[in-house]
């Protein structure tokens, strides 16, 4: 059957099992919107109108995270594409499979400085796994097929397709290819059996092993296999920020998040290990701190789908390229076969040591009767919703780290955050994407006041789509994380952090037509959460918290994990603070 490019676009998306598109229209993509009209009418495709293009990208990322499917966004040419770039870069570094479509001026105008023209392909190239400019309507279907395949296979990531307007209007015979052939792209799925066996032997021999788990485990749906691995030989599990949910938060083997704001005992355990088993994690500098002081005694097993992640910045003795689900399942089989129980004694000693560390410096904060502590807000939300397995989305900053520390996430695909790029403004659109994907689920958005102001226009989308989000502002009237760094490392010379000029968030919520609540005293936190959770529709809660609270423990940037700081230095004289700051690199 003959179809226009725009119809081919819609049909191809249907063939890929797409049910929702996050987008915002404009001249160059109007043919697509025109074709979309029929599909929306017939309820075959849903279009969620965002208010700014980056939000379409973040929503698509979150949709991908919580469903395991590819997220889709659609925006127009020029400024729409440049707005979208942040989300592409975010998806790239966090390995989120999305396909982003942008409009483009007609092919004969490309390169002519036409109205709303930008070099979309050139701009998006470094922020995507791959991208395409469609030059012939005959190629459109196969490019879309390829785009979805590339986005979800191997190390997942964003794929961008630029659609010139005339291509969308031209007609051709529609045939959707059922196979993709790319001679240069064959991700390794199965791990090398010899290497896996070596890994199993190392695990059985190790006295102080640690599992260091990243977002790759969630992407590969390998959480059940991972759990089996941990339980088989009683290995402590620690997760990166992106790995949260890969292992149950309340599991006795769980040591929580590691790295810059990981618990002291977690980081102590990690750097003392004799066998680091890294699964789907990429040794980010926020995890390792100063590299030459990290895990000095460890032999390292690294399981990753991306060969370029392995041994990129840390030594690896047993590299295994492959899909985490496949590799860990196979590793478990090897372990069962080889296991003679000889590890048991040393494991008891290892756990004793870890428990002692935990007793020495548990994760904690100082309670106040006068002012709300941000950690309390998060803990209370986690406590009240424990039986519901909510999906939690965060923004970027202190509140994000507190959420990583204090919100107990028990299941994969229930934690949505911007890890690698640390994109402020991510949280609200991401919560939207998650709620669109899982209308059956409670979705909680934990946002910073600074981050919220970067994308708060999306409250309109929340209302329009009737998304019953529970949005909590951890409102410290500041760019809290920046304030913390200026306080600790720049001698309290505060600049650019004050957000005390801000809207009345309760009235702002009301202006958008949603319920606004506020809590200002510690005694109000519990009841405010109860009220918000009982409300059937969207809620915005303004939790007015202690602006002075800092996020601890903390590994200062560039310092060794061993030099973790446990609490705010109480009576430091300015010279001392300055001297300390000068000693640390990376600021």
């Amino acid at each position: 059957m003959k179809m226009t490019g725009a119809q081919i676009f819609c049909e191809s998306l249907k063939r890929e099992g797409v049910d929702v598109i996050f987008g915002l229209p404009g001249g160059a993509v109007l043919p697509v919107y025109d074709a979309l009209y029929d599909y929306v009418q017939r309820q075959e495709l849903r279009h969620v109108l965002v208010r700014q293009e980056a939000a379409a990208g973040h929503a698509a990322e979150a949709y991908a995270r919580v469903t395991g499917k590819v997220g889709v966004c659609l925006v127009t040419s020029g400024p729409a594409c440049t707005n979208l770039v942040t989300a592409l870069a975010d998806a790239q570094i966090d390995s989120m499979p999305i396909v982003a479509f942008t409009g483009q001026v007609p092919t004969h105008l490309i390169g002519n400085d036409a109205f709303q023209e930008a070099d979309n392909v050139g701009i998006c190239r470094p922020c995507t796994k791959h991208n395409y400019l469609v030059k012939d309507v005959k190629e459109l279907a196969s490019i879309i097929k390829e785009a979805f395949y590339v986005a979800r296979s191997g190390r997942p990531g964003p794929v961008h397709v630029d659609l010139p307007k005339d291509i969308l209007l031209k007609q051709t015979e529609f045939a959707y290819p059922d196979k993709v052939f790319l001679r240069s792209y064959n991700p390794t799925v199965e791990g090398h059996p010899g290497q896996i066996k070596k890994a199993a032997q190392a695990i059985l021999k190790a006295k102080k092993p640690i599992l260091y788990v990243g977002g790759g485990v969630i992407n590969a749906d390998a959480a059940p296999e991972l759990r089996e691995l941990a339980e088989l030989t009683q290995i402590p599990v620690t997760m990166t920020l992106m790995g949260i949910g890969a292992f149950p938060g309340d599991h006795p083997l769980n040591l929580g998040m590691l790295g810059m704001h990981g618990a002291w005992y977690t980081n102590m355990a990690v750097i003392s290990t004799d066998l680091l088993i890294a699964v789907g994690s990429r040794f980010d500098d926020r995890v390792t701190g100063k590299l030459d002081a990290w895990c000095p005694e460890a032999e390292v097993i690294h399981i990753d789908i991306d060969p370029s992640s392995i041994a990129k910045n840390f030594h690896v003795e047993i590299p295994i390229v492959g899909d985490a689900k496949h590799v860990v399942a196979r590793l478990n089989r090897e372990l069962r076969q080889l296991d003679d129980g000889s590890w048991k004694e040393s494991r008891d000693a290892w756990w004793q040591q870890i428990r002692a560390w935990k007793a020495q410096h548990p994760l904690s904060y100082e309670w106040s009767d006068a002012i709300i502590k941000p950690q309390h807000v998060i803990q209370e939300a986690s406590r009240q919703t424990a039986s519901l397995d909510p999906i939690v989305a965060t923004d970027v900053g202190q509140h994000q780290m507190w959420a990583g520390q204090y919100f107990i996430v028990n299941k994969p695909r229930h934690w949505v955050t911007s890890g690698g790029l640390g994109t402020m403004g991510y949280g609200l659109p991401a919560a939207m994407g998650a709620q669109v994907a899982r209308p059956d689920k409670l979705v909680i958005a934990l946002l910073g006041d600074g981050s919220f102001q970067m994308n708060m226009q999306e409250l309109s989308t929340v209302v329009e789509e009737r998304l019953p989000l529970k949005i909590a502002l951890v409102n410290n009237r500041a760019h809290g994380m920046v304030r913390q760094w200026q306080e600790l490392f720049y001698n309290r010379r505060f600049v650019g952090i004050d957000l005390s000029v801000c809207p009345d968030y309760v009235r702002l919520a009301e202006a958008f037509g949603i319920l606004g609540l506020r809590a200002e005293r510690p005694g109000e936190v519990t009841a405010t959460w109860e009220r918000a959770l009982a409300h059937p529709g969207p809620v915005l809660i303004d939790f007015v918290v202690d602006p002075e609270e800092a996020c601890f423990p903390m590994v200062p940037a560039g310092a060794a994990v061993r030099d973790m700081v446990l609490a705010k230095p109480m009576s430091e004289r300015p010279e001392e603070a300055k001297a300390r700051a000068a000693k640390l690199t990376g600021f």
């Binding site: 190239r125 796994k129 010899g194 041994a311 590299p319």
Partner: protein
């Protein structure tokens, strides 16, 4: 390991890539986004018109090259990556050079051109234009010799390189790929 990992060397990398637009910037972007300067890059079609071959010469340390080679493998348009640096290979570059040739020095310029087996491709009463092919040292040498006569303009193609023998390239290439997938640490450039 023979060399210090942080030592900066020149590497010669050959790539087989899909012959389509955007590939060049994808490849060069891998270097530029890390702040590395490409010494030379030459591209041309292979016998298969859907495939182009690139020769890249770049200065970097071994860990950087390892990472770049892995990243090159990851590009969807890259079919093969061949590190020729420590491989037996033949390399050539072509240079076009216009040198001043006044009546008093014409004969001398011609003699040098002759010794280097260059071709004269253009003559004017005051200049010669020479075509020279050779490896880096030959090209360097003739430039130095002609410099006193007043070089007016030069243009170089950048290096092209090919492995010696027929099997060596593919065997090593295969071995590399395999190493890359099983033991990235062992991907050596000085072994």
């Amino acid at each position: 390991m023979a060399t210090d990992a942080s030592e900066v060397r020149r590497y010669t990398i050959a790539l087989l890539v899909e012959n389509r637009s955007g590939v060049l910037s994808r490849v060069s972007g891998l270097f530029s986004s890390r702040g590395y300067n490409i010494d030379s890059l030459s591209v041309g079609e292979t016998l298969d018109p859907t495939i182009s071959r690139m020769t890249i010469v770049v200065r970097a340390s071994q860990p950087v090259i390892q990472q770049v080679v892995k990243q090159l493998h990851k590009l969807l348009d890259v079919i093969k990556v061949i590190d020729l640096t420590d491989e037996e290979h033949v390399s050539r570059e072509m240079l076009l050079l216009r040198v001043g040739a006044a009546p008093g020095t014409r004969a001398e310029v011609l003699r040098i051109a002759d010794i280097f087996r260059t071709k004269i491709v253009d003559v004017t009463p005051v200049s010669y234009t020479l075509e020279i092919t050779g490896d880096e040292s030959k090209i360097g040498a003739i430039i130095e010799l002609l410099r006193p006569f007043g070089i007016q303009e030069v243009v170089r193609t950048g290096k092209v390189a090919i492995a010696r023998g027929s099997k060596a390239l593919s065997r090593k290439d295969q071995a590399r790929l395999q190493q890359l997938h099983s033991a990235p640490r062992a991907v050596g450039y000085d072994d």
